[in-house]
């Protein structure tokens, strides 16, 4: 097997140096190139903290993180920055430019990219998120969903190899969210993108290749959606699984195993 795209080894982290209470405790995982990894967990379980560690905004107290085989350290983080992009949980924290297009161009300017290429990328990214008409707006004067779109455009323009989305789509309407999922999946297939998506939406998580479940700063489980959602102790499950459990409870003969939508429809229509 090739070297993993991301590898975290026994990472710990705490915000407060005085208290010995860890926000991230003994955290290990790997992600392969081209993989879609969903990160789920309760509020305050450490998902955003994990995201900031992956992009080198904060450094682990102990343990190591490797990106494409290179260790993430103070000295190497700058080199790795162009390979990994993050959409913050609150898009307002992300804006730097005074207009939408300046903001989308910001990361490109930092790479000292020639103007013509920048222009092309910015225009394309804005078109992909459907914000072309807002190129000259002040990002702070947009609606919630529009802000999230601009934040995503900033990331798409960068063409990173790894993207980390911290609940980046919660304020989009159902149709746009579906469109974005499709768009990201296409990009992933085309460019072998690795996607790490932090989410509370179990249906979205069910579409991922693998799920990482966090609890109090620890990975308590990783596995394919079927493995994770099948376990009965797990309360937060996608709609289909919730329906299956309900049917079972009402005395149905439905099999006692996790099903995808297709499988369930097939079973019901048998």
């Amino acid at each position: 097997m090739s070297i993993p795209c991301i590898k975290a080894e026994n990472v710990t982290f705490h915000y407060n140096l005085k208290k010995r209470e860890h926000t991230i405790t003994d955290f290990s995982f790997t992600a392969q190139r081209g993989e879609w990894l969903a990160v789920v967990g309760h509020n305050g379980s450490g998902k955003s903290t994990l995201a900031s560690l992956l992009v080198g905004l904060r450094m682990p107290s102990t343990g190591r993180i490797y990106i494409n085989g290179m260790e993430l350290k103070e000295e190497t983080k700058w080199k790795l920055r162009s390979q990994i992009g993050l959409v913050f949980q609150n898009p307002e924290n992300q804006f730097i430019g005074t207009t939408v297009k300046d903001d989308v161009a910001f990361a490109l300017e930092n790479q000292n990219m020639p103007y013509d290429e920048m222009k092309q990328r910015v225009d394309r990214a804005l078109a992909m998120v459907g914000m072309t008409g807002y190129a000259d707006y002040d990002p702070s004067r947009l609606s919630g969903g529009q802000k999230q779109r601009v934040a995503i455009a900033g990331l798409l323009a960068l063409h990173p190899a790894i993207i980390v989305l911290d609940e980046a789509m919660v304020m989009l309407d159902p149709k746009s969210r579906q469109d974005f999922m499709t768009l990201l999946d296409e990009l992933r297939k085309q460019h072998q993108l690795t996607i790490i998506s932090i989410t509370h939406d179990m249906n979205e998580a069910a579409a991922a290749d693998r799920i990482l479940v966090l609890k109090k700063g620890k990975v308590i489980e990783t596995g394919k959606p079927a493995q994770i959602f099948q376990r009965e102790e797990r309360e937060d499950v996608p709609f289909i699984e919730a329906l299956r459990r309900k049917l079972k409870e009402q005395g149905s003969t439905i099999p006692d195993k996790y099903m995808t939508e297709d499988e369930m429809v097939w079973w019901l229509c048998r």
Binding site: W78, F88, N93, T98, N112, P114, Y115, V122
Partner: protein, 270 residues
Amino acid sequence: MNKLILGRYFPGDSLLHRIDPRAKLLAGISFIFILFIANNWITYLVLWLFTFTMMKLSGVSIRIYLRGVRPLIWLILFTVSLQVLFTAGGKIYIDWGPITISSFGLINGMYIFSRFTMIIFVSTVVTLTTKPIDLTDAINYLLQPLKRLKLPVDEISLMLSIALRFIPIILDETQKVMDAQRARGTVFGEGSLPQQIKKIVPIFVPLFVSSLIRAEDMANAMEVRGYQSNNPRSSFRRLHWQKTDIAALIAMVLLAVTLFILRTEGHHFH
């Protein structure tokens, strides 16, 4: 303070928006000098025509310009009345010793009034159609020759642009904190002066804290998006000298020449 429109940017895509900020800045400054060429009603008429054309071209409604003059109207009227009252000559309508109202005084008053309002209108045209950040770029460019005199031009414009970036942020934060407190029952701008002051105090501490946090968030975002202070950066904002810019400057020269031709020789009213 919120009423002042001088110095605000109005997003748009008019012909004037597209002119290079350097050309606009030069044209604006030269207009102030050109104003002094005018000395009879026909030259002032030409200037008014010019001013109105510019206001129209900016695509911003005239009402907004008028509202922009309103906060300064007392200052203008005060200066104008001094002119009217203390200029003698021509036909005298009222004569109270040193205070007279004469035809020269009235005409002079009108000219002064015109000059004031035209300066305000034209500089408003410039700032309304130019992003503050572009204006700093332009100032930086135009000040370059002063570098030979050992003036710290780059530092000055860097400070200017940071200040420009932070003013809207602070205003934004103020708005947020005030809205947050409004939503919990505080009413600003009501009650006696001490009461009003008492309400302002709870804004300051949070404003200070949140501005600091905002600055930190912004620094984080800049870092994650690959900004390194001493690395070379390309720029997405471009100063593009085009034909229209040359045309704009030629228009100013033409305006000056026209005024010279139409000007009355000899008479000076100030």
